[in-house]
Symmetry: C2
Subunit: 239 residues, 2 copies
């Protein structure tokens, strides 16, 4: 058995993931936002690689059930209904809606993961339920691929820590599981922090969110197991 | 003061490093090889981004003082005088020679670091002397950039560990030094391993070298402070 972590989607080609079991993590904030929206009753989330693609995708959908959401430099994109804050994804706002979401790192990583089967959406917010599903995938396929969105094509510590927590639980009791360098390092990182909030608080992403007055999102995203939902991405939509 | 680590050169643009103090690390094996060659009397090492570029660069140099060296998939490139093993860089072979070196990850990372001032070449083999020079750069410039070559555009644990060891020594006693996510994670990694050999032995790179019957290179590269040389890359050559 084998677990591979990728700290960014850079270098993954379209065919690399075909038919392989994949988890995508952008814990600050896109995958937390997706999980929250679906747990709160959204019909689907459609990830877009860019804001332009989000607008294009929206024009092909029934207007009244669709919400455009997304951020650039942490802030809501002008003209979009919602930003990328999980705190915006309340039942009142998202129930029954299809959300087209465009973010800087997370939704491009999801789009890059297309071809995986299944593609699971992970974060602290669903870590226990996620680990259970990921373990089933690992046992069925003898391998698991975990893709961190990272930050502007670079390593992001909050995603790596989340990947490490996932690796730790998924491989527990399985005997020898081969890990690539990133998986081994992610696992090592879990010992370096005193829990989710400690791992997230000094990250570059958290600093940027603080500066954008979105520090409350960091606290939201650092709380584990808010939901038992494990969204799955297939046929261009996450449900 | 600030230290930034990059786990791969991916995403660094030509202008990013202009005039900034840079350390490049590809401990298995390119930067260890460069340090060894220069410590053993080579006149200069010219890094090439590819084997084709190495051949082209060589055709512009005086023939009899030049050695072509390099690897693809760990093995010596056909027709080249030397591979990329530091154990080949003996005084008998390299003294007085200019070596044109092409490797998969390390020399492209060096080429990508052009524009930095200085660009220092680092590995376990020169860690103490390197840390002293890097500390001077940090104190003079208030910042330091450490670029790991990584492995095929992905994170490599042996480079990250070496970067972490460097960060640890360089920032010692300086009070608050800002670290980007990769620098913080590299520093955390140093606590996860029991020294150089332990950090290197299970790496993807070490496994590939073992399979190519080059396991002795891993042991060579894991021994710290073989040399007091800190090579510097400027005007397309390392001296």
């Amino acid at each position: 058995m084998r677990i591979d972590v990728h700290f960014t989607p850079v270098g993954l080609s379209a065919g690399d993931l075909n038919g392989r079991g994949v988890v995508v993590i952008d814990v600050l904030r896109a995958t937390t936002t997706v999980i929250t929206a679906l747990a709160n009753g959204a019909k689907a989330v459609i990830p877009a690689a860019s804001s332009e693609e989000a607008v294009r995708l929206t024009s092909n959908l029934e207007k009244d059930g669709v919400l455009l959401a997304g951020e650039r430099k942490s802030l809501k994109i002008e003209g979009f209904a919602l930003g990328n804050s999980p705190r915006e994804m309340t039942p009142e706002v998202v129930a029954g809606k299809t959300i087209v979401l465009a973010t800087t790192n997370g939704t491009p990583a999801l789009v890059a993961a297309q071809g995986g089967d299944p593609v699971l959406v992970g974060a602290a917010a669903n870590i226990t339920a996620l680990a259970k599903r990921a373990r089933e995938v690992l046992e069925a396929r003898s391998e698991l691929v975990i893709i961190c969105a990272g930050r502007e094509r670079q390593f992001a510590v909050e995603d790596a820590y989340t990947a490490g927590r996932l690796v730790k639980v998924v491989k527990k009791g399985l005997g020898k599981v081969d890990l690539n360098d990133s998986a081994a390092a992610a696992l090592a990182l879990t010992a370096a922090y005193d829990g989710w909030a400690d791992a997230f608080v000094d990250s570059d992403a958290a600093r940027q969110l603080d500066q954008a007055d979105l520090g409350a999102d960091v606290a939201f995203c650092a709380k584990p197991n808010r939901f038992g939902t494990v969204p799955q991405y297939a046929e261009r939509r996450i449900t």
